[in-house]
């Protein structure tokens, strides 16, 4: 379908945005909030028509959007689903998202779709597979993809590469960008026993074109040790904001999304989170030249 005549190709500003929820369609259209952008989960707009498309069309005429896929199974062992890729392309053609992202994870095995972002081992073999898939996606979509770092609960015995090295190599081989989910880093660090700041110090931040912030829940392992669950079910916790400030000090302003997908809050509570990100983004753009910009 041709893009609507009323949407411009404007890029996503380095401001706070939120995930678009049906619960908030009317608040957004009636209230016209001053917010930088919205992100949509691609799979929620793959129906033929109806209210989801009607509202998204109206919102897209007023705001830039980014397209975030959750079902492509980039890290899958089998081939990509060509039909699904086609649906994604059609959605991108229709709504002209300024950013497009997917996950370093798998979610389908053969014909079964498991509806979760599942982990893969980091090896030369999986690196090749992921890069081949990203090449295929970027060709089919005719646009650059951002790959998101995952949150995981287990690791594979066969893993031979660190996640940050794996991501850096994927970027080098495919030319894709990165979506840095700061909450995922926090969850990973707690679950796998490393320092979140160490991970971020090694992360190829120069390729980050979008940041995600979200909440998580606390659980416990068999031995009572802390196990964090990435459930996007609450406000962004303070330690995640702290890590985020640390990232911004190095990257400068980057479009930042608040993810709150479960126990969806009122519009005003979600908007307040985006405003908080806006505040930090504004502060960092006015402070000293970030280190990454200074280095280039």
């Amino acid at each position: 379908m041709a893009p609507s005549a009323n949407i411009s190709q404007s890029p996503i500003p380095p401001r706070g945005g939120v995930g678009l929820k049906p619960e908030h369609y009317r608040d957004i259209l009636d209230g016209a909030p001053d917010i930088g952008w919205f992100e949509i989960h691609a799979e929620n707009y793959m129906g033929a028509g109806g209210p989801p498309h009607a509202y998204l069309t109206a919102i897209r005429e007023r705001y830039p959007i980014s397209l975030h896929g959750v079902g492509l199974s980039i890290g899958g062992a089998g081939p990509l689903d060509a039909d699904h890729l086609q649906r994604l392309r059609a959605l991108a053609d229709r709504y002209q998202p300024a950013l497009f992202s997917e996950h370093l994870a798998w979610s389908s095995h053969e014909t079964v779709y498991l509806n979760d972002l599942l982990p893969l081992p980091y090896t030369q073999d999986t690196l090749t597979g992921v890069c081949d898939h990203i090449d295929e996606v970027q060709n089919a979509m005719a646009r650059r993809m951002l790959l998101e770092n995952p949150s995981t609960y287990i690791a594979y015995a066969e893993t031979t590469m660190r996640e940050v090295d794996f991501l850096r190599e994927v970027v080098r081989r495919t030319g894709c960008g990165l979506l840095l989910d700061v909450n995922n880093v926090f969850v990973q660090a707690a679950n796998h026993g490393f320092g979140a700041t160490d991970y971020l110090d090694d992360f190829p931040l120069e390729h980050v074109a979008e940041i995600h912030l979200g909440g998580h829940a606390e659980d416990a392992d068999e031995d009572g040790s802390l196990l964090l669950i990435d459930d996007h079910g609450c406000a962004v916790p303070d330690p995640v904001w702290t890590l985020y400030r640390r990232v911004l000090a190095r990257t400068g302003p980057v479009p930042t999304l608040i993810e709150w997908d479960n126990d969806v809050p009122t519009w005003s509570a979600l908007f307040a989170e985006a405003k908080r990100a806006d505040g930090l983004l504004g502060a960092c753009s006015m402070s000293a030249v970030p280190e990454l910009m200074a280095a280039t």
Partner: protein
């Protein structure tokens, strides 16, 4: 990727769907122990996500049997029939049939039909958009009414039931009661259609479902009316046709 990778992924997928399966050997836990609790997080995510998706699109079905029963039933359905598409809208089309054949649900004989009505509503919500025929266009048809064939709105669905499925669905949605009170003794047939942004559920009069079904199959107005009359002597053509027109079910003729 390699055959090893496909095998490793298959073992994970199988274990994540089967609550009794052992944690795949490829996964490393801390201090060499099997990460049972950690693997269970994935299993819970997969089941909770899919059961929640079903709960969201079958809300009246859920209210009729309660949260706990519904979730247990949906879990069995997920284990038996996991999704085949990353587009989760398509998931659950055969859940009503599963409910109809699920022995613990047999005490609520109309449950599967309520689920069928909810599925029709869900499909109509996401179906393609189309403009219903205007009143003027419909009025102009009168001159050649006998052999006209209608094109139905892409959202239009019929749900026929031996139970008073619409009444049960309305009462459940409105009051949230577990057990509807006074119910009509006869069956009800529904026409579900979304002419614009609102899905509407219309109770069809006597013979109306046979009439609509014949029209949907592409029969002429005269043949569809004859089919309805043959089964239902009290079939009122004018009232039925007016009802379908008002519902926005027609988008064209041929």
């Amino acid at each position: 990727m390699t055959a090893d990778a496909i095998q490793r992924e298959g073992a994970f997928a199988k274990a994540v769907l089967d609550a009794d399966a052992r944690v795949p050997a490829a996964l490393a836990g801390r201090d060499g122990r099997r990460p049972v609790r950690r693997f269970a997080v994935y299993r819970n995510n997969v089941y909770a996500g899919l059961v929640n998706a079903l709960a969201g699109r079958f809300p009246a079905t859920l209210k009729l049997v309660g949260e706990e029963f519904f979730r247990a039933m949906a879990r069995e359905y997920v284990a038996k029939t996991p999704p085949r598409s990353a587009v989760l809208f398509y998931y659950g089309g055969d859940f009503p049939d599963f409910i109809g054949a699920f022995p613990p649900a047999s005490a609520v004989p109309y449950l599967a039909d309520v689920a069928r009505l909810e599925w029709a509503w869900h499909v109509a919500y996401h179906s393609a958009d189309a403009e219903p025929l205007s009143q003027e266009a419909l009025a102009a048809l009168v001159t050649r009414a006998e052999d006209v064939r209608f094109v139905f709105h892409p959202s239009a669905r019929l749900v026929r039931s031996a139970y008073s499925v619409i009444t049960i669905w309305e009462l459940t949605a409105r009051d949230g009661e577990n057990e509807p009170g006074r119910l009509p003794a006869s069956g009800e047939d529904a026409l579900v259609v979304r002419p614009a942004l609102q899905v509407t559920v219309r109770r069809l009069p006597a013979g109306g479902a046979i009439f609509a079904e014949a029209l949907m199959a592409g029969e002429t107005l005269a043949d569809a009316a004859a089919a309805a009359l043959a089964v239902e002597p009290e079939f009122d053509l004018a009232a039925n046709l007016a009802g379908l027109m008002r519902s926005g079910a027609f988008i064209g003729t041929r």
